[in-house]
């Protein structure tokens, strides 16, 4: 592998792993804050027990989310030096804002929440978990603004062939950012609620407190239904917007080599990829691609071949088609899994209406295993977004192969890649073991009448 390949593999590896923990953190922080608010409002001990129970799961993930986040920030300078040098004055700004405005908030208040149970007045303590939830959601906003700039650069002028920031607001009104960030928020809620649902379902199947875990399963489902609906709707609109600025991305997601109007959407294909322009399509749904890519029944989707010749004229000779195989399948894995989650959530809602949520062993079994779906869905989504931008690191401004640190050797990259794989492999395993262990713990015992008003003991290391 060349140093460009290795740097890309390393970045993909650390980012995918980091993004396992980000949506759980954002989602569970919000849900934990909801639970604690419910306790604060109602005074019901069940909510306090649930807050402590899911708060523990939150904390296990925040730890890894934070430390793997440092790796993300260092990656740009370590392996993508030329990129950092060229666009740091734009891309670095939201990153620095993220640290100052969001990371400090999130991590300082997490410490206050975790250790402050018996030190802070209840109202203040409730605010600390909301600060954690807000900080984690805010940090995603800044990094998404930076990422959206790579997909659709805005707010800059070219000075001596180098992009210079001249409008910071443009980064936050970038349509790719607005829709992309909304999607990340909804996806985080989906991830958090699916985890909460799975844990509650496991508990209900294995003799956990029925009343309490039915409550958390219901809360999870009630948040999940709108979250997955909005994820799908926002995702659809994001596709239209990305299609406008990155037509290659959308054309590759359908393996559409020639221009079509109206365009059909194939459920599956056999063959395909960059060297096979005539794969066998299985079940093509007429008009669906037009609708997905343009919001119009008869919308036109420009094919990869005409785009390739247009880009060659515009940017000089080169191959500008992203990996079609990855695009095609990432798109489908993401969409199909999203549909599965929607079906599951509707099933759960129907069971709530029938008051059978806690007793339907089939649903509970499915809900436990369905916890892997959002993670696969999120990963597929990032493949679609990031691989679809290739060969650009910044669309239209810099090619990925020109972005690497020119003097970092292949050996260095191999060493760092192996270290990260070993490290993340171990951490992932430990995290999974602990998540499973604590998901299967009993709830913290209810508090007796006498200490109902006493301070709640802090969680300690």
């Amino acid at each position: 592998m060349t140093n460009v390949d290795l740097a890309r593999v390393e970045f993909a590896f650390v980012s995918i792993n980091h993004f396992f923990f980000v949506p759980i953190t954002i989602g569970l922080a919000f849900l934990t804050a909801l639970l604690q608010t419910a306790w604060h409002r109602s005074g019901r001990d069940d909510y306090l027990r649930l807050t402590r129970f899911f708060g523990t799961l939150l904390v296990i993930n925040v730890a890894i989310g934070v430390v793997t986040g440092i790796v993300q920030e260092f990656q740009f300078g370590m392996n993508w030096g030329a990129y950092s040098r060229l666009v740091g004055n734009i891309f670095g700004a939201p990153l620095a804002m993220e640290g100052l405005a969001a990371f400090f908030l999130e991590s300082t208040f997490l410490g206050l929440w975790l250790f402050g149970w018996d030190r802070l007045p209840r109202r203040i303590h409730l605010l600390t978990i909301w600060a954690v939830a807000f900080g984690s959601a805010l940090s995603a906003a800044f990094i998404l603004a930076a990422n959206s700039w790579m997909q659709h650069p805005v707010g800059y002028t070219m000075v001596n062939g180098k992009p210079q920031l001249n409008d910071i607001w443009a980064l936050f009104t970038n349509p790719v950012f607005v829709w992309g960030y909304s999607k990340v928020l909804f996806v985080s809620l989906v991830t958090g609620t699916m985890v909460m649902l799975a844990v509650s379902a496991w508990q209900l199947r294995h003799g956990g407190d029925r009343e309490v875990f039915t409550r958390s399963a219901r809360l999870a489902l009630i948040v999940l239904v709108p979250a997955i609906l909005f994820t799908l709707l926002v995702g659809d609109e994001l596709g239209v917007i990305e299609g406008r600025y990155q037509p290659m991305k959308i054309a590759a997601a359908e393996a559409q080599w020639t221009t079509c109007q109206p365009c059909s959407f194939s459920l599956f294909q056999i063959g395909g990829g960059n060297n096979d322009q005539t794969p066998t399509e299985i079940i093509a749904i007429p008009h669906l691609l037009s609708l997905l890519a343009t919001n119009h029944w008869n919308g036109q989707v420009v094919g990869l071949n005409p785009l390739q010749s247009q880009y060659s004229k515009q940017y000089g000779a080169g191959y500008y088609v992203p990996n079609v195989f990855i695009q095609y399948w990432a798109m489908r894995v993401m969409a199909y899994l999203g549909a599965l989650v929607l079906l599951l959530s509707l099933w759960g809602l129907w069971l709530i209406r029938r008051k059978k949520l806690a007793t339907s062993r089939r649903f509970l079994w499915v809900a436990v295993w369905a916890a892997v779906l959002p993670f696969l869905m999120n990963t597929a989504g990032w493949f679609l977004t990031e691989s679809g931008r290739q060969p650009w690191i910044v669309q239209g401004i810099m090619l990925t192969k020109n972005g690497i640190s020119p003097t970092v050797s292949v050996t260095t990259l191999w060493i760092s890649l192996v270290i990260f794989i070993l490290l993340y492999g171990t951490l992932g395993t430990v995290d999974l073991i602990l998540m499973l262990k604590y998901s299967r713990e009993q709830l913290p015992p209810p508090r007796t009448e006498t200490d109902a008003d006493a301070p709640v003991p802090a969680v300690l290391y």
Binding site: R52, A63, I64, V66, G69, I70, E73, F74, G77, M78, N79, G81, A82, S84, R85, L86, G88, N89, I90, G92, A93, L95, A96, G99, L100, A101, F103, F104, S107, T108, G111, L112, L114, F115, G116, W117, R119, Q164, L165, I168, S405, T407, V408, T412, I415, S416, I419, F420, L423, L427, V430, Y438, E441, P444, P445, P457, A458, V459, L460, Y461
Partner: protein, 357 residues
């Protein structure tokens, strides 16, 4: 617009200084937790002195890096590429350390805990060592070519001055952590913290004085030490005296000033360079040839002026909330008969139910 460039150099100096002042004692506590805490309760007490604080402290490093990215992209790009492998090791240490805090108590098994204790100690030593080596390299010089690219290898980083700086920072963090533990623990743990501080202080002083003189000789053209260099030497001597005089608050203040002035001295002596080229002084990276455009600096100035005071306010509040001492008695397992009487559950192991007092 020109004066925003020095302003941003000052901000970055402040961020690195803040990082070392705060995370410095976290590193020290990480190195010392098994020494100060001789049993499980003691080790937990030691770790819990920084429990609510270390995560927020570590963010100072992230923000220092991100601020360099935004304000001096050329510096960030060259430095982080040059230190590639060293940073991989640093990241590994920080990751291992971070999860060690979180995970060591999550399973009730002696071997599990010992493993995380060792990792926490090793990570806490390696992190300041590597950062010290990295910062020293900026000043001492590295092979950098005319297009601001590092042309050396990992071994070019390990110069005597860089290693001395790394060891100095480890020792300063160790002493800082010891004086912090003197303030935050009770009983025999406090006694042991004093013992460690007394042992470490003279060695640290020797290394700091050596570091300051070496830095001065490397970077300065004048004969006399500048104010901040003098301050570092005076502070570390004061720390030795205060440690032997058993003055806990002042001793911690002295190590705070020591660690801050060491970092500031390095940055002051570096300016206006940000990375010295050992290939050719004409290739030096300076604040001017690595800075972002005026608009970016203006935007970031507004952001930092708004947010840095807010961050300082709520971090100070956090220190106030968790100001009290932590004693090992809080972590001793309840007597078995008592536990059986109050806990009817067969598995009273959920961590969130572990009593704090």
């Amino acid at each position: 617009m020109g004066n925003l460039i020095p302003f941003w150099y000052i901000i970055i100096t402040i961020l690195w200084t803040g990082f070392f002042v705060l995370e410095g004692f976290d590193f020290g506590v990480g190195m010392l937790h098994s020494v100060i805490g001789t049993d499980e309760a003691g080790r937990r007490a030691a770790i819990n002195t920084i429990g609510p604080l270390w995560d927020g402290n570590e963010v100072w490093l992230i923000v220092a890096g991100a601020a360099m990215f935004a304000a001096f992209p050329g510096w960030y790009a060259t430095m982080f590429s040059a230190y590639n492998l060293a940073l991989v090791l640093l990241l590994a240490s920080l990751i291992v350390r971070g999860v060690a805090f979180e995970y060591r108590g999550k399973r009730d098994a002696a071997r599990w805990r010992r493993t995380w204790d060792v990792l926490l100690t090793v990570g806490s030593v390696l992190a300041p060592l590597l950062i010290g080596v990295a910062l020293a390299g900026l000043l001492h010089g590295l092979p950098i070519n005319s297009s601001q690219n590092f042309t050396g290898s990992f071994w070019d980083l390990l110069q005597p001055y860089a290693l001395w700086t790394g060891v100095t920072l480890v020792l300063v963090c160790l002493l800082h952590g010891a004086t912090f533990l003197c303030l935050k623990t009770t009983g025999d743990m406090e006694q042991r913290s004093w013992q460690v501080a007394r042992r470490v202080a003279p060695v640290t002083a020797a290394f700091v004085i050596g570091f300051i003189i070496w830095t001065h000789v490397t970077a300065s053209t004048t004969f006399f030490l500048n104010v901040i260099e003098l301050l570092a030497i005076l502070a570390v001597l004061a720390a030795v005296w205060l440690v032997y005089d058993h003055r806990e608050g002042f001793a911690f203040a002295a190590t705070t000033v020591t660690i801050a002035s060491c970092i500031i001295a390095l940055f002051v002596d570096l300016y206006p360079n940000v990375m010295v080229s050992s290939t050719n002084p004409a290739y030096n990276l300076t604040v001017h040839n690595t800075a972002s455009g005026g608009y970016t600096l203006k935007v970031m100035t507004v952001i930092v002026i708004i947010f840095l005071p807010v961050v300082l306010a709520y971090q100070t509040w956090t220190y106030y909330v968790f100001r009290r001492r932590v004693s090992r008695q809080e972590f001793e397992p309840p007597a078995p008969s008592h536990g059986a009487a109050t806990e009817p559950e067969p598995r009273p192991t959920a961590p969130s139910s572990q009593p704090g007092s």
